[in-house]
Subunit: 454 residues, 2 copies
């Protein structure tokens, strides 16, 4: 075993304890009442990175800061790797569905349960641990490393592109390395080669000036909640295709060979159905479950609120109704164009008697990896060294908008090597990260530093 | 002026002060945390009625008590009037839309602002004041009076029918008098001769076992909020008729003469539209606004809740979605049959991949008054004496399920003589009752006691 791997072996309990410290900080970026917690998470990370030998700066943005850490001891002849992660987390609600509190990390059945355990604090911290394994006891890395950790990923990274543009020179690198994705199955190392984009909206339907008695006024006044339901129902056709005119114009149709490769992955529809706990799976006609998740766009309602939602009955005709609606996009769809199509469609189906406003909450482009080149092959070898088998290539239904931006601004390819396991409750109650995944991930990253140097 | 009218003149400020005391008690029947407040309102009323000479009993029910008060000093030769009202109120939410707090009654522009000001504490208290005007200073009423005030009207009066059946003999009467309705316009005395019924449901759509990441799972799992939207959208057709098969089978079609009488009422559609604050009025094709409100059934969404409803974006595929859905019914629709039709329709449009459950929260039959007979004429005369003009007859979009039950169980006609003014925000923030209406209502009721004795 190499020195870094031996070090990881020995120091794993310490790494775990440190990760728990980070997980205890409720850095919920979407909530202003957590702003000081979010900053505390950035400062915690900065201290850790300094302690292992990095030069660290906390760079302010209009909202949450970016941690910018550099180690350039490998010299100008060695390649430079840019590591990206995020220290902010999703809101933990609904709290009553958590078995243990979201910000009190707890081990159960070999899993770390906490908000952020896998998305992304646990995966970000694997990198810190791997760096520590090289730099401890006077050692050095075979590559130069720049690490950036942002605090706004879960709110759409509004200030990251300006940051990357501003620090373009200091972020110059040969490859960008990100662990914010998952493995296709336990024991199956995975490189993600496609991400869906996102276009997320809040739709407000306003009717009467105030809530009305639904008996006294019902029937003569358009009900905003009913109008909203009709608008939402109009977003799909009977084949569960998205009904916005022109929506599929830019959808890249995958080749039969690409679709066959997806078909060969070890995927059990029944097991998937059981895992998500639904009575049946369904989606766009003509596509398999994995295709629906990776290579097809979708439209989801993420939230609904109107009128009386408490216990019992209240006979109210609500003044307004709200929906959060998001589209997942695939190459080559553009969130700006989708926003326009969405606005046009909603306007065309909005009934008289209500006013609809649409706010764009965030958007990101879809992405496909450039799988050519030596960095991609280095990642394949590092995973094979750690797991004893070559990785599979998968899509990922979620979005990491910054991936495409890194490629565009820095001109470097992005490697998505992540270790979340299926069913890890990302963005949901009882989020978890297997301790074994944390260890294997740390080992893989240490190996990858080695491979990238070669 | 008669002695009771002179008394009302003099004691009005005291009556108003007493009403404010009652309005300060937050007797929200739907909320168990207000149970002791609700009881306190019953006890307050009981004390007041005892102090003016009534024999009063507080009758327990499985939830909130009924105040049963009797004065039988007019002797067995005189008619007996049963007065019904309710001392419970609607929940006050959303609190931030109230100009002054809902349980701190405040006078502004000649109006009493408070939750319950008009529905029904203020209108119930007019009766107490009118009784006081006869009984004060050793006086007596020309009729026997039984007054019942319940604490469960706003939750569908689940225990009132058993109460009326149990006390059928003590409640025996010649006429039932209720002030829980409104005047068609300021200065225009009104008798309500039709009420819509109600069938109120909570619909729960359940999908995955827990909230999911909308990127990771979106497209392959049926979204419960989207499924709910499609179910709700299916409840109306393009003409805004209710799309449940068989729903209109029992709807009484009004005669051309009845519809002409409605047309003759002084009603300004623009003024109504302005008052409710909507960009346009709309409803079932082929009917006027008043017809849509009084003689046609309707289906409303009263509440919606699903997924993430806080600030910003959360990419969640919600595990469940809830809607409160209610139908207003017209003669001769039956809430039991409507519940069956609703269940059948929802089952027929529920997609695979979700489970739907429907809970019946409450129901009540629609009602039309028997306008024949001397009691009705007595009410006409009492209103004319007070207001100087004969009343109009109107429908009322809201429901008072107990009205039909009184007629059925006690075999006595029901008189609906109420004084709420249009725009009084019943069931909404900033509910109000004009002080002048409170006074004129009290005077009318005092006159009506006189007329009923004759």
């Amino acid at each position: 075993m190499s020195a870094p791997q031996t070090f990881i072996d020995r120091e794993l309990p310490r790494f775990q304890g440190e990760l728990f410290e980070l997980l205890r900080i409720p850095s919920v970026s979407a909530r202003s009442e957590h702003d000081s917690d979010t900053r505390q998470a950035a400062e915690w990370l900065a201290r850790r990175l300094r302690s292992i030998g990095f030069e660290v700066e906390i760079v302010e943005t209009p909202r949450h800061p970016v941690v910018l850490a550099e180690w350039r001891g490998a010299g100008s002849g060695a390649p430079t790797v840019l590591i990206y992660g995020h220290y902010d987390v999703q809101p933990p609600e609904p709290l009553d569905l958590w078995t243990t509190p979201p910000f009190e990390p707890t081990m159960r059945d070999g899993r770390i349960f906490a908000r952020g355990a896998v998305d992304d604090k646990g995966q970000l911290y694997m990198h810190v641990a791997a760096l520590d394994a090289y730099l401890a006891e006077g050692g050095k890395l075979p590559i130069n490393v720049v690490l950036i950790a942002e605090g706004e990923e879960e709110i759409g990274s509004p200030n990251l592109v300006p940051f990357v543009e501003r620090f373009r020179d200091r972020l110059a690198c040969d490859v960008v390395l990100i662990s914010d994705t998952g493995m296709f199955a336990p024991g199956l190392p995975t490189i993600v080669n496609a991400l869906r984009g996102l276009a997320y909206f809040e739709v407000q339907v306003e009717g009467p000036g105030g809530d009305l008695h639904s008996g006294t006024y019902g029937g003569a006044v358009v009900n905003p909640a009913m109008a909203l339901a009709r608008i939402l129902a109009s977003l799909h056709d009977e084949n569960r295709r998205i009904a916005l005119p022109g929506f599929y114009d830019d959808v890249h149709e995958w080749s039969p060979a690409d679709r066959a490769a997806i078909k060969q992955l070890p995927f059990d529809e029944r097991e998937f159905q059981h895992q998500v706990g639904v009575p049946a799976l369904d989606g766009e006609a003509g596509f398999s479950t994995l295709e629906r998740l990776w290579i097809r766009p979708t439209c989801e309602v993420n939230g609904l609120l109107s009128g009386y939602t408490g216990q019992g009955a209240k006979t109210v005709l609500p003044a307004r109704a709200m929906a959060k609606v998001s589209f997942r996009l695939v190459p080559d769809q553009d969130p700006v164009r989708v926003a326009r199509l969405f606005r046009e469609h909603v306007a065309s189906v909005t009934p008289a008697g209500v006013k609809v406003t649409i706010e764009e909450l965030h958007g990101g482009r879809p992405w496909r990896a450039s799988t050519e080149g030596r960095h991609y092959q280095a990642a394949v070898r590092a995973l094979e060294r750690t797991f004893g088998r070559p990785p599979v290539f998968t899509g990922e239904g979620g979005s990491i908008p910054i991936v495409g931006d890194f490629e565009r601004i820095l001109g470097a390819p992005v490697l998505l090597v992540g270790f979340a396991l299926p069913g890890c409750n990302m963005h949901a109650p009882n989020e978890w990260f297997a301790l074994e995944s944390f260890e294997m991930g740390t080992r893989t990253i240490a190996n990858l530093f080695d491979e990238l140097a070669g």
